[in-house]
């Protein structure tokens, strides 16, 4: 079933339904609104899978793929889940093309610009960067489900759609991902206290 050939196949309660129809009718402004509506979540997911350097490119590439494939969007799930599936796949492909990033904690040197930041803010920022680095040390498929569930708060059903996995596999993979991250934080880390 192709969207443009059927009257209303998009999920009835999908808030993007109208914009999807207008985009398919040739209204590129509607596509721009879809990008504005979802660029933040798409970028966060991309950044946490591929890292900050490639996140902009992966996000834009995902939206362009979505645009050119929109006539294949069946509307059986919300547009956001379909888009995140494209972001997820594009990000995994980008990771496969590149060598894995180092997962060691960064050296404790401060950049000049950061010296002006209040100490607490600086400390929190550095802690966040170290945690992001640890997160990128996870196996890619573990990282993806952990980002979607524990950081973006997607429902298991939505993650199953995004990753194209059965629900049970999503839960199992998430459990293993959390276990792997806990082990990573316990290894070579001095400030991630986690009880046994």
């Amino acid at each position: 079933m192709i969207l443009s050939a059927q009257p209303s196949p998009v999920t009835p309660n999908d808030p993007d339904r109208e914009l999807v129809h207008r985009t398919l009718a040739g209204d590129s402004g509607a596509f721009g609104e879809l990008v504005e509506r979802h660029e933040a979540v798409a970028h966060r997911v991309a950044r946490r899978i591929v890292g900050p350097d490639e996140a902009d490119d992966v996000t834009q590439d995902s939206f362009l793929r979505a645009f050119h494939r929109l006539d294949r969007f069946r509307g059986e799930s919300p547009f956001r889940a379909w888009l995140l599936q494209i972001v997820h796949n594009t990000a995994l492909n980008a990771v496969q093309r590149h060598r894995p990033e180092p997962v060691a904690d960064p050296p404790a040197t401060e950049e000049p610009a950061r010296e002006r930041q209040p100490a607490r803010e600086l400390e929190e920022r550095e802690r966040r960067e170290r945690l992001e680095l640890k997160l990128r040390g996870l196996r890619t498929e573990h990282r993806a489900v952990l980002v979607l569930r524990d950081l973006e708060g997607l429902a298991y059903e939505e993650i199953a759609e995004v990753t194209e996995m059965p629900l049970g596999s999503v839960k199992g993979r998430l459990h293993r991902a959390r276990g792997e991250l806990i082990e990573l934080l316990r290894t070579n880390s001095y400030d991630w206290e986690l009880p046994e």
């Binding site: 660029e39 645009f67 524990d150 959390r178 806990i182 986690l194 046994e196």
Partner: protein, 75 residues
């Protein structure tokens, strides 16, 4: 719990607290994507039809040349 842990272990509870650091970071793209994405989408769509036609012509030419070469070998 924010991260939606179900029956968490003590370590998972600790992990969830650490992850709050990342959840609180809602930074988006370095610059808004909408305008340039729409512009790129437009020219890509406009270029698609001519490229497809050019591809079909090239394919037909290659097929034709192949047939000619085949006939010459037989003849």
């Amino acid at each position: 719990m924010n991260g939606g842990f179900e029956d968490p272990t003590a370590a998972e509870r600790g992990l969830d607290e650490h992850l709050e650091l990342l959840r609180s970071d809602q930074a988006g793209p370095s610059r808004p994507l909408a305008d340039r994405t729409v512009r790129t989408a437009r020219w890509q769509r406009a270029a698609r039809a001519p490229l497809r036609v050019a591809g079909m012509i090239a394919e037909a030419l290659i097929d034709g040349l192949g047939l000619v070469a085949q006939r010459r070998r037989r003849g």
